[in-house]
Assembly symmetry: D3
Homo-oligomer: 198 residues x 6
């Protein structure tokens, strides 16, 4: 007997999560967004299908995720995805590790880097800037109460501006949220993610 058998009849939220939430009818904006996903990725990420039971929730999630991961920043898109994967490794989040290691492969063209960050970012050949960034994100994740001025100072020494520090904090914070939403709802990555960019 496996999880899917236990889950009974196919849920309206399909393979996305272990909750039975009826999908809301998409409005034009959401349809366009999903169509763009199909076009660019070949599929709609399950995290979006999971949020699609409520368009307001879907849209606030997309707005925040896209701002954090795609808007102009002193952090490259790859750096932001590295934070996503390192945080998700600390939290053992299946959905985010699979989906965002695919993004690391896409931006870095380096599948070995992606698998290394999934396992333990300390084992990767990182420059000091990237290492300092991931040390900060890891500490935020496992001991958030202990972050202090000295931790921010180390980031400044590694060349990050205060705005960059905000962005590191915001991205690391965001994945501490979505890791937990994913774990709490048993969110399942789309099959396509596993082999993307390999």
């Amino acid at each position: 007997m496996n999880r899917h058998e236990k889950a009974g009849p196919k849920k309206s939220s399909g393979d996305a999560v272990a909750l039975d939430l009826a999908a809301a009818p998409l409005d034009a904006d959401s349809q366009a967004y999903f169509a763009k996903c199909e076009e660019k990725l070949g599929f709609v990420p399950n995290v979006l299908k999971a949020y699609a039971f409520d368009l307001a929730k879907l849209k606030t999630f997309i707005a925040m995720a896209d701002d954090l991961m795609l808007a102009p920043s002193g952090l490259s898109k790859l750096e932001r995805e590295l934070i996503a994967v390192a945080v998700s490794s600390a939290n053992h989040c299946h959905y985010c590790l699979v989906a965002h290691s695919a993004a690391v492969r896409k931006y870095s063209k380096d599948p070995k880097l992606a698998d290394t960050i999934v396992a333990n970012y300390r084992a990767a050949d990182l420059d000091e800037r990237t290492r300092a960034m991931l040390d900060f994100a890891w500490k935020m994740t496992v001991e958030p109460w202990g972050i202090e001025e000295a931790d921010r100072a180390r980031l400044r020494t590694a060349g990050f501006t205060d705005r960059d520090i905000w962005d590191i904090a915001a991205v690391a914070g965001f994945f501490n949220m979505s890791n937990r939403v994913a774990n709490a709802t048993d969110m399942r990555p789309n099959d396509e993610y596993y082999s993307m960019g390999r």
Copy 2:
């Protein structure tokens, strides 16, 4: 010598965070939102001032926070604030404990309840529904990788629908994000919060 003295000349981000981020000019929507805060609360929460260096970030934060905490849900506003405080207690988040225990006081008219949840929700006189909800939020916070079907099943037994479970997960997830952004940036609660509702 204290933190403020160490921080040097007054920052553009004022008393809100330990990062030097120049506030962006507010657009009409943001001005209106801040004006409504002044009217309702008597002040603009520092978390919003902190995000105000970038209007896109400010707006996505407001949209998500307001949807989670104020939109219709099977969870009452008080229940959502109880989750906020229990999660923030696990993460020892100064900003969120001060701001959201004020919200618990506002909705519950019970300052003792608020202080108890700040300390240890297990010590509060809670009905089984609320207790199950906070146990789930606590486990999501401290051991997110361990959440399983049995944890969701306990919520269903306590009377929560699958949609309610989503909302518990989403609120608990959100404060695991904002706790960490606050801790990472040394976010400071407005003075007014400490005594609101006492």
Copy 3:
């Protein structure tokens, strides 16, 4: 259904703890001590009512607590209460956080300081001496096996004498005891504590 309903008929140990312990008749000394509490505080702290089932235990507890918190020391009474609250925050002790944050308010006249230490002492504007003291108390609490000469050396550098170090250790140790007795017996703070000094 709440805890008090579950507890059945009112216990002899009243609202103090979740154990049914018949109060012993107070002797003259104990009566005088309780009377002084009523006079000074307006009530007898529940921790004393909890111990009152056995006069020998009540007296040894009072003797040790009063010596540690009130006798002459290189640590001010406020400093000792700050240790009490920081340790109780690490241990999530409801009784001690409520009772001793009231004491911090009393000695400091600063309710915001008290609420900050309850949440996370690292977020407070502390001078280096106080910060070193609370770092030592926190480490004693969460990783007592790891305390070493280097930790004591840091206290000496911050201006503490060896006698002061003893007092820090003794106060932090004491609240690691009373936090656990309180948590183990579900000790409940007197209602009056919540608003004292606000």
Copy 4:
């Protein structure tokens, strides 16, 4: 170079702790107590020498320790010493493990039992009552915020009265204090303890 060499000239507090605290002149009561130790044990325990820089502290410590460990109780003296050792094992307290495993040997005449509890009480051949008692003491030690009515209920099922539960909590609490005072001051067991009762 070892710790003693680092410590410089012999301290007034002798071999007892890594703090330089001048011993206070003993009064008649304290002299009598120390004499009784010499008579019964053959030496004065270093914990008492450590406290002897201040007679008030020495006496409150002795009063509490003797009440908890020697006064009438539903717990046998051996049971109280088993709690002492199990708590000290969780906290890796050198002083208390050495001194109180000697006490377990004395009361049980079973050196193997003592060494087993030092290592891991779960490996000992314990009846259900003792096992429930030590499970409670261990949880109080490592996760005090999580103790609940269900934990107390298990003790009642194992045959403990509410008064017994108090005593378990008080003894386990006490060693969480003295373990930390010992670790924080580098308290060193008297040489005699190591071989007593073997």
Copy 5:
């Protein structure tokens, strides 16, 4: 600057570990073993190159690893590799996650299963037998002192014999060793492992 640049001139132990250990001349048996690796895998695993500075150590490692992972057992080879990956996930061991997830792909022909176990075995669609086996291996890894008769009883209920339980314990124990040797020496997986079986 990256790790390899920091490491200076190419080490005799090559890309295998961050220690400078001169390879010993292989004897006939070892040459044959390495030749068989080349034939079957296309390369000699770096863990073997790491041990090759000392033939006795190399041979005892190979003997134990091959007995545990390849000899007849009530556990299938895939089950043993699942234990290897789950334990390595708890320990965040880069070398073992990369090498043994390749083995899971080889035996299961299911790359998604492998990536799921790397992330969090609780998210995989496992039957009860496999789930019980991995729960036991995880607990052995993160809380070995807490394993008890009840844990072994759950394995027996899931259909495992006492001999199977030994094998689960031995394999989980072995990877708790090799994870740590790999982390302690910065052992690096052969490039070939990353894409094997995808």
Copy 6:
């Protein structure tokens, strides 16, 4: 009721472990090895009896253990036993603490040193070399993912060669394995170990 009573009829694996595994007939080599144990120690260690259900497993275990603990190394035999005991203290392994503290007594002729390492190696009077070695072994045990070049560098500064570092890692790794096999199978030390060398 105790563990032995629960275990039912005497098992073929005797007092060694809580698993029912029929001993295999020993071959000449194994008989000779056991005879040597009887001669040197006066008994066959239970860990060997536990492995004796399968001669291949018995021999690979003996080969690895003897190579690590007895073969030429830059680490003395005492140093290797100190690592064994410190690791076993972190893991609360009853079997290994009892058996290897006996070995520390044998090599050091210092029972107090042995008991101190069992409790907390930080409390022992160690030179800097030994302390650095045990700090590395402890970190490998409790936070293996965090070991880095800086940790190896500290060992080199303390005088260890890269080969010595391998040996520290290998011995600490080995006891992280055997601690877990012992805990998982409830392995029981031979009675003789408790008093050997006292």
